[in-house]
Amino acid sequence: METEMGFSRFALFLFTIALLSSPVLSDLVLSKVDRRIYLTSQIVRYTATLRVENEGSELVSEVLLAFPELQAKNLAYLTVSVNEGKGKQKVSTDDLPIEVVSPKNMPPAVSFYSVTLPKGLAPGDSLTLDVMAVFTHALQPFPEKITQADIQLVVFQDSAYYLSPYAVKVQSLSVKLPEARIESYTKLENTKVHGSEIKYGPHEDLPAFSYSPIGIHFESNQPFSNAQEVEREIEISHWGNVQITEHYKLIHGGAQSKGEFSRLDFQARPNVRGASAIRYLVATLPPRAHSVYYRDEIGNISTSHLWSDSKKTELLIEPRYPMFGGWRTAFTIGYGLPLQDFLFQSEGKRFLNITLSSPMVELVIDKLIVKVVLPEGSKDISVSTPFPVKQWQETKISHLDIDGRPVVVLEKTNVVPEHNKYFQVYYKFNKLSMLREPLMLISGFFFLFVACIVYTRADISISKSSASYLAKQQWEEVQAAIQQVESIINRCLATHDKLEASLRDLSRTGDVQACKAARKTADGLLKDLSKELKPLLAFLQSSPSASQILPKVEDLVAKEKELQERVMTKHSTVVDAYERKSAGKDIENRVALQQQKITALKQEVDDLMEYIDEI
């Protein structure tokens, strides 16, 4: 009962345009009009086939299409093409140019679109036009508020007759509904219902601007997913990636939910208690999309699924909660695409060729903002879009940018999936600029290391005459001296090893002369070394800060001297013995005692070296 009343009120409210017998615009007549309206989803799609005849005497080059203003407000997409096919074979040519016009002497509350014909219509000729229009927000939920258990009912309003500035000879209308359940509809003469389809007409010989409001009130549990704003950022990296980030602000545009939301009911019978809720959204991404993510302001959302094959990548996302009428959510999806699929080159320019709108299936977007972020240093930027959009430029500062990346911003309101067409952004970009960022990083690290080196090498103490500074400097000198001493001792030890080696050679070859020569050179070397040692020792003795370590160093030098002598005597004993051709065992016995001492001394020298090393 209530619905009936509300519905009639609606119908009254809708249109008050008088069926004026306005002056005939031109001599065109529509001989046949077939309209089909699809209400199967929240987006209303409308196709009309118009048979246009020129009954006048002049060539006509444009045809006017009329829509009631209330509909025109919701009109998102309109194309008209010439149908040149004969009979059933329909061949559509390219879309014809359309522009909004407001001719004089026309009834109010009607919007006009002028279609320019390619060749013009000669007197007596006729031609067929295919009109396709898409409307958003054309379905009004009624009642406006429902509980979780109620089904969602919507109202659609239009005219049973084709609104046209021209007289129409024969016309018919069929409306396709999503489900067979129809709450009510306006009955005119010859109205038929077949399942989920309502047919009006045919009606014959109606004058221009005939109008007969009809309303259809029916069940529609289709998700009314309506994005109030979508911001789409396409970022190009010449390193091989196109990164797409899409921010959605979504609302369920259907009947408002009222009363309780019971999770229990929703879980038990989701198709009855919450039939119109948006439970998931599907996005069809291009093939080879990778690194897909789905998150919102407060973090990752784990309810999503991804399928991919060679033709497409399909992403199914569930909002954090099932969305009932009037509920909102906001989220972000992002994915990467291979650069070579979308970026091409022509005439010295690069161009990006990518779809404009969101990849979501059956989503109405009230406001779409597309930002194309070009690499830093791009020049001569131009955009070509399949339909007019608002556009301007910005800059965005991202990783390692100096003056920011140029951003082309496109804005379009009232966007439907039909708008998801390719558009192109042309720009010039020098490939060498790609290396700028890595070079910056490299040089950054380089200067960091250089700074470290300079810091460790440079003397940055403020007071060069303070006691602690002098002491520190002295200590460093002492350390250097000690290190020199150590290296000399090490060389001495190495000479000892050489002597020992010559002895081993002797026992193998018996070459006494060679062994003697070795001793001579070693002797000379050791003397040189001890000469080198003297000034160092003198310096250490004079330096006050070396007083702690001095006894150890002196001890070391003395021990080494002793060791040196022992090794020499051992060497000469062995060589002498060889000269006298003594028995091997005899030599060994004679040397054994010396050898023991040498070992002990070596041990001591080693210990001392280690001790000094640790200071």
Binding site: T329, I397, A592
Partner: protein, 742 residues
């Protein structure tokens, strides 16, 4: 190693002249590699030390990233959400706005002066890092910075631990301390990625202050003391735990004075650190004049004056040659100084100028205090006394290396080791009192254990090395080996020393590797859960994610009016304001006990009484956490007794025995009637009686408590269900507007 290069240098040069350029190159390389070999032992050691330290630094960072790998880059738990929200505010609005921020979104209708009631150190640190990184043109999100702040500071802590260990023992101990603290679960529990809490930077600041102070005491240098004052300032700005520093350092000075270790170095270090630190700390609005006005800070001031008296006496002693006269003077001065101090303290206390110790401080000294007097402190699980198992869990082998380290410290007593011993002992006591203070004890335990490990291993390797040297020299001449071994007479008395040393070294290695595996396991299994997202194993072994908290908070954020007020138990306050962006009645700040008690009272009253309370607080939504469907045990029903206790503490109309049956807390048929009809019960179990949670159990079976609920027919009169998350963990109810009169 050194003498190897000698023949090579001479030979290659003439050969190289004849050879083509390519071999010249290889020759050059040869020479280069020789040069690298020519590093002196010192340089080699430095290289090894620096590379170990770098590895430890990286390890400390990456071991804390388990949570990011397992879950995502997100903020964890409760308090971090407040810190995140304030950091966001700071980066968006700037410092002055932040400092003067009056937050009307929490503690409705009272509000909260954020700038004056928080420790800004963490937020400022994160914001500065964020600004620096942005300045270097890395376009990071502030969330990433916040998530990684704690691991970054944990890495820095390892460096401080190294220097601290070097200062008190040697560089070996420092390295081991750095390695131990890098992976110690006691520290990781508060510093995993996403754990964006004050403790994350505070432990770094704490250890830094201590290190700088010990350095100042060791050197007597003003600059180190100054640095330690600034370290203290940073600590004060970051965490309320600075009270530990301002009490431990005076205590340490006291001990040094008593043990006769007073020195000019100590005098300089303490005075500079105390005076400057105090002045700097006063710049933090939340701390304000507490350093001169609160009982907790009086010990530091007393010690400060005592040091002056000591200095004065020293001077007098120097001037007076007569010891008898000095004795008399000493007696008079000490008595009058102590007397004056006592009178000043008494007058201060009596006049109310010096505030008495707070409840939190009392509860630290006396573990039973909170239970009897402050239920709100006792209700927090991390304020419970520590169980042995959690000590074992958090310290593992450090627990018995700790006494060994103490032994080594006492063996080589110095000003520095006395400090670490005192730090270790006091913090261990506090760790026993409260679970969360294990965190404070962790650096001390790591340092002391590092001393034990380092000293032991050093001793063992020394044994091994001396033995092997003898063996080497012995083997050069087989005949003399008998005599060589006879020379080292010490070895003969302990024939298995070398084998023993090897065995012990292997044992130590085994223990340390066990420690490493334990730490990794604990980090990945226990401490990397964000507790916002819950993960469980499904029936088929697959991972099931319960993301109910965020589901509910996001629902609140999107589908409630922007000025809606949400009432929930205080645990969820910070999360609701940060993630839900809605006003809450109470939150985790717990500064107003009465307000929390009011909420507790509403939750434990009958619906109509609760409605009156909620109307008076302008509540629009009520949020409860319920684990009956999933078996999630830390839900509001299990916390409910605390609400009753806290509510009853202020409103005697709420009596705990009303909710118990024979002292037992139950929710099934045998539960107390008041329990079955109070608001919390109704909200949790609304329509739960129709739900079958587990196969083979009756409907309304509560999986968290394992019982069938007692009141299955819950009717709500003043509230209606607004939203319940998919696993029922969070339930939100809308408070209905009052009925029209006519």
């Amino acid at each position: 190693m050194v003498n190897k290069s000698e023949p090579g240098d001479g030979n290659t040069k003439p050969a190289a002249a004849a050879m083509p350029a390519s071999s010249l190159k290889s020759d050059l390389l040869n020479n280069l590699s020789f040069k690298t070999f020519k590093l002196k032992t010192k340089q080699q050691e430095l290289l090894i030390r620096v590379s170990i330290l770098c590895l430890v630094y990286i390890l400390a960072f990456i071991t804390r990233l388990f949570s990011v790998l397992r879950y995502e880059s997100m903020i964890h738990e409760f308090d971090p959400y407040f810190n995140y929200r304030t950091t966001l505010f700071l980066t968006q609005k700037g410092f002055y706005e932040f400092w003067n921020w009056f937050d009307s979104e929490s503690w409705y209708p009272l509000g909260r002066i954020i700038g004056g009631t928080l420790y800004p150190g963490l937020m400022v640190t994160a914001a500065v890092i964020y600004w620096v990184v942005r300045f270097l043109r890395f376009a990071v999100h502030i969330r990433e910075v916040c998530v990684l702040t704690a691991p970054f500071f944990a890495s820095n802590t390892t460096v401080v631990a190294y220097f601290f260990g070097k200062e008190i023992w040697d560089s070996g101990a420092g390295l081991i301390a750095a390695a131990l603290i890098a992976i110690c679960p006691g520290y990781i529990s508060r510093s995993v990625a996403g754990s964006y809490d004050n403790e994350g930077v505070a432990i770094f600041a704490l250890l830094l202050t201590f290190y700088l102070f010990v350095k100042a005491v060791n050197t007597g240098s003003l600059s180190w003391a100054l640095a330690s004052a600034f370290g203290y300032f940073y600590m004060v700005s970051a965490w309320g735990g600075y009270v530990f520093i301002i009490n431990l350092i005076p205590l340490y000075v006291m001990v040094l004075l008593i043990t006769g270790r007073y020195s000019m170095r100590l005098y300089v270090a303490y005075n500079c650190m105390y005076v400057l630190g105090m002045l700097l700390a006063m710049q933090i609005r939340f701390v304000g004049f507490q350093h001169v006005q609160s009982g907790e800070h009086m010990a530091a001031m007393g010690v400060f004056f005592l040091l002056q008296v000591f200095y004065f006496l020293d001077w007098v002693k120097h001037m007076l040659s007569d010891t008898k006269l000095f004795q008399a003077f000493l007696r008079i001065t000490v008595t009058s100084a102590v007397g004056a101090g006592a009178i000043a303290l008494g007058v201060g206390m009596a006049s109310g100028y010096i505030s008495p110790w707070t409840g939190r401080f009392y509860s630290l000294l006396d573990p039973t205090y909170a239970k009897d007097h402050i239920p709100i402190i006792a209700s927090v699980s991390e304020h419970q006394p520590t169980a042995w198992s959690s000590f074992m869990f958090d310290f593992h082998i450090l627990l018995f290396l700790f006494p060994a380290g103490l032994y080594f410290c006492f063996k080589r007593l110095s000003d520095a080791t006395i400090f670490i011993v005192m730090y270790g002992l006091t913090s261990m006591y506090f760790a026993g009192v409260m679970v969360r203070l294990i965190l404070v004890a962790t650096p001390a335990v790591c340092l002391i254990s590092a001393i034990a490990v380092s000293a032991t291993i050093k001793n063992l390797t020394m044994l091994l090395r001396s033995k092997s040297k003898v063996a080497q020299s012995g083997s050069t001449k087989a005949t003399s080996s008998a005599k060589a071994s006879s020379k080292t007479s010490l070895d003969q008395s302990q024939p298995f020393q070398r084998n023993g040393a090897i065995a012990l070294l292997l044992g130590a290695f085994y223990l340390l590797s066990k420690y490493a595996t334990h730490c990794t396991w604990v980090t990945s299994e226990a401490y990397s859960s964000p507790s916002i997202v819950l993960a469980a194993r499904g029936a088929h072994g697959n991972r099931v994610i319960f993301d109910d908290y965020r589901e509910a908070y996001f629902w609140l954020r999107q589908n409630t009016p922007p000025d809606a007020k949400v009432m929930s138990w205080w645990d969820y306050g910070y999360q609701i304001t940060a993630m839900g962006n809605r006003t809450v009645i109470v939150d985790n700040n717990t500064w107003n006990n009465t307000h929390i008690a009011t909420v507790g009272r509403a939750m434990s009253s009958y619906e109509d009484e609760a409605y009156e309370i909620m109307r008076s607080l302008d509540v629009d939504y009520v949020l409860v956490v319920f684990g009956g469907v999933t078996g999630y045990s830390s839900d509001d029903i299990n916390k409910f007794l605390w609400m009753v206790r806290i509510g009853g503490g202020v409103f005697p109309i709420i009596k705990e025995p009303d909710y118990l049956v024979n002292g037992e807390y139950r929710v099934d048929k045998g539960a107390a009637p008041k329990m079955l009809n109070c608001l919390m019960y109704k909200l949790c179990y609304y329509r739960f009686g129709e739900m079958v949670t587990e196969y083979g159990k009756p409907p309304g079976y509560d999986r968290a408590r394992g019982v069938e609920i007692g009141n299955k027919d819950v009717k709500l009169e003043y509230l209606e269900e607004a939203f319940t998350t998919s696993n029922w963990i969070v339930r939100i109810y809308k408070v209905k507007p009052p009925n029209n009169r006519w």
